[in-house]
Structures are given as structure tokens and as C-alpha cells.
């Protein structure tokens, strides 16, 4: 046997290539997907925040409204905030008409988005269950199923046996601390690959002429005579006719630069993944009462999200007791997870509004727009958030779908209380 082993190595590489065959068809590395221009001195529109919502808004501004002189300025790297930290769940089973309309618009966009962006988003409509553990949960869940159906959204009420048929590994026995009494079910719900969503929007926006400016932290917003005139960033001043703040957990900080005080509190929200496992968990399972939501990602890791940490925070990490609480709930629902190892945990900063509904709105400052308050559930709304913000910016008027989500609702009292459908404890 030759001691250099080169023959064996060649064989091994050939085998590796064969094994990794499917991955060679995955999209290019993101470095090569969009241009990296220096900022120009002025743009028609500057979007503050290069996360999913900001990128989607930039794309729809260019695609649907013909406004291509747009810059997206991002403090860090594209989609490195909550877009990289969410649990990628998509559904539209919200209670109120206004929420149902905007989230269902998002879900319909999701269903064709990969074709539109010519980028595989790995959308998997595997069904989303929201479990009920008490009589109150059952009433709330059934009410929401009926409300969804009235709004033309697919929704079913499941018995514990139905739940077990859809997801055989879940424990539906009645003798646990939080027994499953039923569940809402949205068959069209599911998950998508969050990074691909951001990269798909970024590439498409860049191709249409949008400048994506990374590493540019906004330090001031210039307002003259009640109208926004530009932003000052760590990469220089950029004049702008219109500015949209799409900064999620940092919405309050950025809005304060224009003298605005928002009904937003920022909280840490944690999630975690297990090591890679064989496919065992076929659906998305959420439990409002015990603060856990679980799906199994395409690669095989279990993705679990927790409730928010109670206090205001910007540290992108939370308390371990929150994780412990979440794991205890997950283990009671899924006893077979007991031997799974946690691979990593992380936190993002969510912008929580008083009614658990977003704010996509004009502001008292001319030419300045807000898209924030998505709190714990922004990922699923990404396409619709960008869609309505682009419309609002382009026309200086809200779209039909975000008219109700204006700042003024806190004064008129027309709140859209979605604490039940938001499914994450606040």
C-alpha cells in the first residue's frame, strides 16, 4: 500500500462530492449576490435598517413603484439582526380583521415569492398548530378559528387525537401538568429559510438599482422645517427626500433622532437549536400557555423559541431561566427530546407595542415613515411589511392594509389587540 494515500484521498473527495451533490445546487454565497457600493451623497429614499422588512420595502419600492434611487443603510451586515435570530415560522391565523388581512397578504406573497425572486426560500407549508391547555385556551383558540374562517383564512380546530395523528411524537396524555385539550391548525402555515429570504430580496433589490450600504450606522436624522432632509451616518451624510425607519428593536433609538417618542419597549427574546436529528417532528407546534414553539429545520435541528425576558434590554441575550422554563415545557410536550443536546442559544431584541400589533405609519415629521412594533412575530410578515411600507413611502399615504396600523391608533383608542394570536408571552 503506498504510504502517501493519495488514491484514497481522491476517492474520499469523489465520495464527498457525490454526497454533497444537492448542496452544490444551492444558491451562491451571499457575498456575490449584491453590489457593495459606497453611498451616494443623496437618494430619493433612504431606508434605515437592512433586515428582512427593510430589504423587502426596498425591493417593492423599485419593483412596484418604479422608485430605484433608494439606499438601505445598515449598521452591521445585512439581515444580521432579528432576521438572523427568528424561528422562521410563517402563519396568518390572527384574530382581528386588520391583522388577518395583512398577515394573510404576507402568506399569499410567501406562496409565490421564490418564483418572483428567482431564489429558493425553502418554504415548507407543513402546518402550524397552536395548542390549548386550558378551557380559556380552548375558547380563545376556537374563537380564532371561527374568526379566521370568516376572513377566508384556512383554519381548523383539532382534538387531541387529531394532534397526535399530525404529530405522533407529541404527548397528548391527559395526566400531565398542561394537558393538550385541542389545537388550532393552519395547514398553509410553515417555515422558510430566513437567510434565503433576506438574500433573495437583497439580490433582487440590488439588481433593480437599490444601493445596499452595510456598516453605516445612522447617528442623526436631519429635519428642517418639519420635514426630513437626510441622515448622518458613520459613512457620511446622505441627503434624502424620504426616510423610513425599519430598525426593529432599535426603533425607539432611531426615532428619537427625529424627536419622536414611540409606544415601543425593547425586550430580549431567546431561541435555541438542538444538534441535527433525523426527521421526527413534521409540523410547527406552538404553545402560548407554556411559552414554547418548536419546528424541525430542513437540516434537522430542532428550533425552539421562548417567551420574552420581562425587562427592557438591548443586550441580544437573555436569562437562562427563561430557556430552562421553555425546555421544561418542550420536554413535557415532546418526551423524546429529553436526550437531544442544545447546540446553541441566542437572543434578539424585539420591539413590543402595547397591543402586540405593528406600527406601519406616517409620522408627524414630513417624509419620515415608521415600520416597527412587529415584536415577536415579524418574520412571517416580511413580504407584506415591505409591500405596505413601500406603498406608504411612494404615495405618502398608507396602503389599505396598514391604514389601521398607524401611530394615531394609540390616541383614537382603535387598538388591535393580538396578544392571543401573537403566541409569545409578553
Amino acid at each position: 500500500m503506498p504510504c502517501d494515500g493519495s488514491g484514497a484521498l481522491t476517492d474520499a473527495r469523489a465520495t464527498l462530492r457525490a454526497v454533497s451533490g444537492p448542496s452544490s445546487r444551492l444558491p451562491d454565497h451571499p457575498d456575490r449576490l449584491w453590489r457593495h457600493p459606497d453611498p451616494k451623497p443623496a437618494y430619493d429614499v433612504v431606508i434605515i435598517g437592512g433586515g428582512g422588512h427593510g430589504l423587502a420595502a426596498a425591493y417593492y419600492l423599485a419593483k412596484r413603484h418604479g422608485i430605484t434611487d433608494v439606499a438601505v443603510v445598515e449598521r452591521g451586515w445585512l439581515a444580521g439582526g432579528n432576521m438572523a435570530r427568528n424561528t422562521a415560522i410563517i402563519r396568518s391565523n390572527y384574530l382581528w380583521d386588520e391583522s388577518a388581512a395583512i398577515y394573510e397578504h404576507a402568506l399569499k406573497l410567501w406562496e409565490t415569492l421564490a418564483d418572483e425572486l428567482e431564489y429558493d426560500l425553502l418554504l415548507s407549508q407543513r402546518g402550524v398548530l397552536n395548542l390549548a391547555h386550558s378551557l380559556g385556551d380552548v375558547r380563545e383558540g376556537q374563537r380564532r378559528v371561527h374568526a379566521n374562517r370568516l376572513n377566508g383564512i384556512d383554519a381548523d380546530w383539532l382534538t387531541p387525537d387529531d394532534v397526535a395523528r399530525l404529530c405522533p411524537i407529541v404527548n397528548v396524555s391527559p395526566d400531565v401538568r398542561y394537558p393538550i385539550l385541542g389545537a388550532t391548525y393552519q395547514a398553509r402555515g410553515g417555515i422558510a429559510k430566513h437567510d434565503h429570504v433576506a438574500w433573495g430580496y437583497a439580490r433582487a433589490a440590488s439588481d433593480l438599482g437599490v444601493d445596499l450600504i452595510e456598516g453605516a450606522e445612522v447617528q442623526a436624522i436631519d429635519v428642517d422645517g418639519g420635514r426630513v432632509t437626510g441622515v448622518r451616518t458613520s459613512r457620511g451624510r446622505i441627503a434624502a427626500g424620504k426616510v423610513a425607519i425599519v430598525a426593529a428593536g432599535h426603533a425607539s433609538i432611531v426615532a428619537a433622532m427625529a424627536g419622536l417618542r414611540l409606544p415601543i419597549q425593547s425586550h430580549p427574546l431567546q431561541a435555541l437549536v438542538s444538534e441535527l436529528l433525523d426527521p421526527v417532528h413534521p409540523v410547527v407546534m406552538m404553545s402560548n400557555a407554556v411559552h414554547v414553539y418548536v419546528s424541525q429545520a430542513h437540516k434537522g435541528e430542532l428550533v425552539l423559541g421562548a417567551g420574552i425576558d420581562p425587562y427592557n434590554g438591548y443586550g441580544q441575550r437573555g436569562g437562562f431561566h427563561v430557556i430552562e422554563h421553555q425546555m421544561a415545557a418542550a420536554l413535557e410536550l415532546f418526551p423524546i427530546f429529553a436526550r437531544a443536546h442544545v447546540l446553541r442559544t441566542w437572543g434578539g431584541i424585539v420591539d413590543v407595542s402595547p397591543d402586540a400589533s405593528p406600527i406601519v405609519s406616517k409620522t408627524p415629521v414630513g417624509g419620515l415613515y415608521l415600520d416597527c412594533g412587529w415584536g415577536t412575530g415579524g418574520f412571517k410578515a416580511t413580504p407584506a411589511s415591505g409591500w405596505v411600507l413601500a406603498h406608504t413611502v411612494a404615495n405618502d399615504e398608507p396602503h389599505e392594509l396598514n391604514r389601521a396600523f398607524a401611530l394615531e391608533r394609540f390616541e383614537t383608542g382603535a387598538l388591535i389587540d393580538e396578544h392571543g394570536a401573537a403566541a409569545v408571552a409578553h
Binding site: 433609538i253 417618542r261 414611540l262 415601543i264 419597549q265 427592557n312 434590554g313 443586550g315 383614537t412
Partner: protein, 82 residues
């Protein structure tokens, strides 16, 4: 987990406490005189700084008393006034 210095019981785990949000938000002295815009401020608008701020906690599993605390919302360092 935060280690919260209760002024009455000493340092205790965060799980013994409930959070009360921003400190120093007083009930309006003359509620009847408030217009809708003023009510927005009292009901919904709060500071949300990245850095030191004053907040309320109640020691529900201890002395059950409310107190104010200064905490840095980025580093979670407790006790340094802004």
C-alpha cells in the same frame, strides 16, 4: 438571570421579582383636564433607552414591596445612575 438588590431583603434572583417598567411615571394629578394626546403619553409612551435607566420591580416572592432600580439596558449592570 439578574441578581437584583432588593432594598429590604438584599440581593435575590430575578425569578423572585416581577417587572414594573419605567420608574417615575406618576398618575396624572388632574385626569379630567387631560386631552387624548396627553393620555397617549401617560398610557403608552415610555422611554426606551439603550443604556442606564430607572425601572420598577416588585419582590413578589419576598417582601412584596415595590422599589426603583437603575440598570443599564445594554450591559445589565445595576446601580449606576445615568
Amino acid at each position: 438571570m439578574l441578581l437584583i438588590p432588593c432594598p429590604h431583603c438584599g440581593p435575590r434572583d430575578e425569578t423572585e421579582f416581577r417587572y414594573g417598567g419605567q420608574a417615575g411615571v406618576a398618575y396624572p394629578p388632574d385626569p379630567d383636564a387631560l386631552g387624548d394626546a396627553d393620555w397617549v403619553g401617560y398610557l403608552f409612551l415610555r422611554d426606551n433607552p439603550k443604556g442606564a435607566w430607572r425601572e420598577r420591580w416588585v419582590h413578589v416572592a419576598g417582601c412584596r414591596r415595590w422599589f426603583d432600580l437603575t440598570r443599564d439596558t445594554l450591559t445589565n449592570v445595576i446601580g449606576r445612575d445615568p
